[in-house]
């Protein structure tokens, strides 16, 4: 990507973010109640979005070649289990990433 394309990409992302934050203020100026469907989407989409994002992160991992997704699976399980135990987000991220780095750099080379 060229520098200009990078800046355009960031501007587009900024516009999409501002849109989610500002839309209610334009759509419902006089305290008009939001349509039920819109409220439902705002409630139901975030969970799905993070499911999508986990898959997005793993999109280039192959089950059938290389290390057969073992480093990814192990690290995700460690990340999740640690979070269930300590409920500390940064701890889980650092531990999961650390284990992944050890696995891909020293074990599954």
């Amino acid at each position: 990507m060229t520098t200009l394309q990078m800046i355009v990409t960031i501007a587009v992302a900024a516009a999409a973010t501002v849109l989610t934050r500002a839309l209610p203020f334009f759509a419902f100026p006089a305290g008009r109640e939001a349509p039920r469907y819109i409220r439902y989407l705002g409630r139901a989409l975030p969970g799905a979005a993070f499911g999508l994002l986990v898959i997005y992160c793993l999109r280039d991992v192959s089950l059938f070649s290389g290390s057969h997704a073992v480093p990814e699976l192990v690290s995700i399980i460690v990340t999740g289990a640690l979070y269930l135990w300590r409920r500390n987000m940064l701890l889980s991220i650092f531990a999961g990433t650390g284990i992944y780095m050890v696995l891909v750099n020293f074990i599954f080379i």
Partner: protein, 242 residues
């Protein structure tokens, strides 16, 4: 978290000024991780727009909850809306301005300080990442770990994890059908269709759970529980002051 975002972006090979620029203009943690990753892929503004919109769809809710309180803020209003990330919202929604302090200025400074911490964090991480310069394999897993934790947190909070399962299954199906470079937009359409399809079953369950949690202070289901959003502060990893 800002430091993590900065290190992550620069170890992807992006220039050092990208994370601070994103922190200033986008100011939404999870979206910035994804945008950083998309900056290393071919130019695709439509996909970036839709992805960021879906990731930040929850902010629609924050706006609905703050309609009244931002109404009379005049010149401060545009910035208050622009800077309403997860943390700014959760603080401004639940905290009371001390007596004698103007509520508008209180909320503005909460948002401004929040963003300042985020920009400084991203810049520090960015400079640190660039200074290291060596490309260690595996740092990019930080993003996977981040979203795994947020997904898990969402899953645990829901009465039924229907949305989370839909997200994973639809995305995986789209990935198998369209391949890693093309699957995001079909996946989002599939998610929208699936969520709409189960609405008649899912909506009453979600509403009932929100009611039981005492979250219905106004018409915006699921937004009116400050305690709940207080807990979210870490988990959502929006613009974050850590």
């Amino acid at each position: 978290m800002g430091i993590t975002c900065g290190i992550y972006a620069t170890t992807l090979g992006l220039p050092w000024w990208i994370p601070p620029l994103m922190a200033c203009l986008i100011f939404a943690g999870s979206a910035e991780f994804v945008v950083a990753s998309m900056l290393t892929a071919p130019f695709n503004p439509v996909q970036v727009f839709l992805t960021v919109f879906i990731i930040n769809a929850r902010h629609l809710f924050y706006g609905l909850s703050m309609l009244e309180r931002f109404r009379d803020q005049g010149r401060k209003r545009p910035y208050l809306i622009f800077a309403m990330c997860d943390e700014s919202f959760s603080i401004n929604f639940s905290a009371q301005a001390p007596s004698g302090v103007d509520e508008g200025w209180f909320m503005t400074f909460v948002s401004l300080l929040n963003q300042l911490y985020w920009v400084v964090g991203c810049t520090l991480g960015s400079l640190f990442g660039s200074a290291l310069a060596l490309q260690v394999e595996g740092v990019s897993f930080a993003m996977t770990a981040l979203f795994t934790v947020i997904l898990l947190d969402q899953w645990l909070k829901e009465p039924v994890p229907a949305s989370e399962i839909i997200g994973i299954v639809a995305a995986f199906a789209a990935l198998l059908l369209f391949g890693p470079d093309m699957f995001m937009i079909p996946a989002m359409l599939l998610i929208l269709a699936a969520v709409t399809l189960v609405r008649s079953r899912l909506e009453p369950v979600l509403d009932a759970a929100d009611d039981a949690g005492g979250e219905h202070e106004d018409a915006c289901a699921g937004t009116a529980n400050p305690a709940n959003y207080g807990n979210d502060t870490e988990a959502h990893a929006g613009g974050d002051a850590q």
